[in-house]
């Protein structure tokens, strides 16, 4: 429990860093769309921007929660609920759009039987589970892409999404094991760092 207390605040920092990375990738894809007018880049830009916004709102709600807690003030349930709803909707929308982008624009397709299995398995309709399903599909696509291309940039994207997927699995387990909360945030941050490294490599001359 002590280690979890020490972690308070650090989770917000990690969420903000992840948010900045997601927004940077969204911005870069938007720049690419402006240059080429290719819709694929618009979808990438929108999905990463939504993801960035979702993480940003998540971070702001956490800050509000911690500040209220330290001041001993009562936490407004409406702020908390609104924050959670915005975060969930934005995140689901972001990963749905990203999965759609892979369905539409992937240069190599996973066996088409993969998607229905993943989409229609009888899970509870919880946000985290939806995200895990969408992320599974995206991670499979990026792993196939890496297997095909054998390039470091593709490996970085695959590893990035794999870590984000693992993060969401641990977010789901947070209600059972509290330590998963720390692990999930750390994995999420690492995932976005892998994507950032890819972006930096891509922009080398």
């Amino acid at each position: 429990m002590m280690s979890l207390r020490l972690f308070l605040g650090f989770d917000v920092f990690m969420v903000f860093v992840s948010s900045i990375i997601a927004l940077t990738i969204g911005y870069y894809a938007g720049k690419g769309y402006k240059l080429t007018s290719e819709k694929l880049l618009l979808y990438l830009s929108l999905s990463f921007s939504l993801l960035g916004v979702s993480l940003l709102v998540d971070g702001l709600v956490s800050i509000y929660f911690y500040l209220s807690m330290f001041k001993g003030a009562q936490v407004s349930r409406i702020v908390f609920m609104a924050g959670n709803v915005i975060t969930s909707i934005a995140e689901v929308a972001a990963f749905t759009l990203l999965a759609y982008t892979y369905v539409r624009y992937s240069f190599i397709a996973a066996s088409s039987s993969f998607l229905p299995i993943l989409m229609f398995k009888n899970y509870n309709p919880l946000v985290e589970i939806v995200l895990i399903i969408l992320l599974c599909y995206i991670t499979i696509q990026t792993s196939i892409s890496y297997g095909w291309r054998k390039e470091l940039n593709s490996l970085l994207v695959f590893t990035g999404f794999l870590f984000i997927l693992l993060a969401h699995i641990f977010f789901l387990l947070t209600s059972i094991y509290m330590f998963c909360y720390i692990l999930a945030h750390t994995l999420q941050l690492l995932g976005f760092i892998f994507l950032l490294v890819m972006l930096l490599r891509v922009n080398r001359r």
């Binding site: 694929l40 990438l44 992937s106 240069f107 196939i144 593709s154």
Partner: protein, 99 residues
């Protein structure tokens, strides 16, 4: 695993890039026929896209003394565009996507 068929038609941006790449491969200046064949275009489409590239200031005409067009030369703007396009392509490739 299924390899997707390449898109049946080339987008405008791809045609621009193909034409500019032909000129770049020729050392920054190329004759019209070289661009036409190199970018695999019909004469009508070549005329259409070459005038668009001129409008966008990606190329300039090099004329003979009698005013006839001898070749097309890449501008700095075109070199920058190709460089930026290369980065965007690497970015999309990293995600395993294609347009």
């Amino acid at each position: 695993m299924v390899l997707r068929k390449p898109a049946a038609y080339r987008s405008k941006i791809k045609i621009y890039v193909d034409m500019l790449e032909v000129i770049r491969r020729e050392g920054g200046e190329a004759k019209p026929t070289k661009i036409l064949y190199g970018a695999n275009l019909s004469y009508d489409r070549f005329q259409k896209y070459i005038s668009q590239l001129k409008e966008k200031e990606f190329i300039v005409e090099v004329k003979k003394n009698d005013g006839k067009i001898l070749s097309y030369k890449l501008t700095d703007k075109a070199y920058n565009f190709l460089e930026e396009f290369k980065k965007v392509k690497r970015f999309i490739d990293a995600f395993g996507l294609t347009f």
